[in-house]
């Protein structure tokens, strides 16, 4: 089982930057999971006790918006990581996640991985170097979507005007 898990962990592109011994350590905290299409992986606000590497299938990140229901904010496909709220307190999911189709993934025990990171700063730094590019990429993607690039000039002007009027509007940084 462990050897099989090590092979799967080593094959996942998200962990490509880890050294083989670091991947082997990580594989000790990992197990295989399957989610059926439509199954909830985690709920918004719940304790973030795991993260997953998606091997096949895809997952929708969602949030409940009063008056509008469950809204998908982003979809994540095979080859990427699901979940980073476990990294920092309060260790609670900011969004929910639901399998869009049958998903094969590797699950990790977040508390165990955190303990390893704290005990071994080199390991912790290596883990952060896997997560930060993905976090940056998703932040940049979110900023692009905020620009509403595909809007017609009229719609974009309306959005800009509404943002300017909003008392909560923030700077662009």
């Amino acid at each position: 089982m462990t050897a099989q898990m090590q092979t799967r962990v080593a094959a996942h592109p998200f962990l490509a930057a880890l050294a083989p011994p670091q991947r082997e350590l990580l594989a000790e905290d990992a197990w295989p999971v399957l989610f059926a299409a439509g199954e909830r992986v985690f709920a918004e606000g719940a304790a973030a006790e795991r993260f997953w590497l998606i091997e096949t299938g895809s997952v929708a990140l969602d949030i409940w918006v009063p008056g509008r229901g469950q809204q998908t904010v982003e979809t994540l496909s095979a080859g990427t990581v699901l979940g980073w709220s476990w990294l920092y307190p309060p260790h609670r999911w900011h969004f929910g996640a639901q399998a869009r189709d049958d998903v094969e993934a590797i699950a990790f025990d977040a508390a165990a991985v955190r303990r390893r990171c704290e005990a071994d700063p080199a390991f912790g730094y290596a883990i952060l170097r896997c997560f930060t590019p993905v976090i940056i990429e998703r932040l940049q993607a979110t900023r692009l979507r905020m620009l509403d690039l595909y809007a017609s000039p009229d719609e974009a002007a309306d959005t800009d005007a509404r943002r300017a009027e909003s008392p909560q509007s923030e700077g662009t940084r």
Partner: protein
């Protein structure tokens, strides 16, 4: 002395003089976008290549650059060296495009062209062809995808990644399905899913990872808002696709279409003549230049 016939021929060879094309069909693609098919009335224009554009005149309103989105039924394949029929997909954003979108079958519009550079499909022979479209940017890419499908065996994988604002903004949904059935790997994502959307949500570059083209055998054509093209090109470069194998279609205000007036100057390029399709090794610096 110039005869009347010679004068008429000279006028017709003049790229500044529009020719009459009649609207033969009009399809509403989305709430603000229309695809029209135009048929030459007398002298057809020379054949267009995918990626080239027309200057379309809505009489009494004005003239705008619009890319070829298809060669009509009797227009391209085997139809001879002339553009008997042209398809254009127009999004209503201002006075001229609104007027063009409101055309009815039977109406005449003015057409000049073909102008500019096209997608260099020959450079993709033997490679995987990756087409990345954002919003109305799918329109100029449609004819090049159709051309690749006509000659399917010359290319490796055909991958089409499409980003749209919302499901309601998605162009050619029926054709996307038909292309999928013909073996094109089509992936679509939207920024704002709305009710009932079961597909991907996120920026178009998020489709790249799962599509994972083999970097050293990929040729990529990108068209969409400039910032989207820049991000898509950067994502491809990160996957080690060489910059000269990435082609983008640049837009600037265009007037004459023939490199005379200078309205579309971008650095050393006159985009109506040297563009709109430019390889990314040339385009990347120029895309940082702000419009006047």
């Amino acid at each position: 002395m110039t005869t009347l016939t010679e004068a008429a021929e000279a006028e017709h060879a003049d790229p500044a003089v529009p020719r009459f094309y009649r609207v033969v069909s009009r399809r509403e693609d989305t709430y603000d976008t229309v695809t029209m098919e135009l048929a030459a009335q007398a002298d057809p224009l020379p054949l267009f290549a995918p990626g080239q554009f027309s200057m379309l005149t809505a009489f009494g309103i004005g003239e705008v650059p619009i890319s070829l989105s298809g060669l009509g039924s009797s227009g391209g394949d085997g139809g001879g060296p002339a553009a008997l029929r042209l398809q254009h997909t127009v999004r209503a954003v201002g006075a001229v495009t609104r007027s063009l979108c409101a055309v009815r079958p039977g109406q005449l519009i003015g057409v000049r062209g073909p102008f500019g550079t096209g997608w260099d499909l020959a450079s993709a022979i033997g490679h995987d062809l990756l087409i990345i479209a954002g919003g109305i940017g799918l329109a100029p890419l449609r004819p090049v995808l159709l051309a690749a499908l006509e000659d399917r065996s010359r290319y490796g994988r055909l991958v089409l990644l499409v980003g749209a604002r919302s499901p309601a903004d998605l162009l050619y949904p029926d054709e996307l399905e038909a292309w999928r059935e013909r073996g094109v790997e089509v992936a679509v994502t939207v920024d704002r899913p709305g009710e009932g959307w079961q597909g991907n949500v996120g920026v178009v570059t998020s489709l790249l990872e799962p599509a994972a083209p083999g970097a050293n055998q990929t040729t990529a054509f990108i068209c969409g808002p400039e910032i989207m093209m820049r991000y898509a090109a950067q994502a491809l470069i990160a996957l080690e696709v060489p910059t000269q194998r990435i082609q983008v279609s640049l837009e600037r205000t265009m007037r004459c279409g023939a490199g005379w007036c200078g309205h579309c100057q971008l650095g050393p390029l006159l985009l109506c003549r040297d563009g709109p399709v430019v390889t990314y090794d040339r385009a990347s610096e120029l895309m940082r230049i702000r419009e006047l």
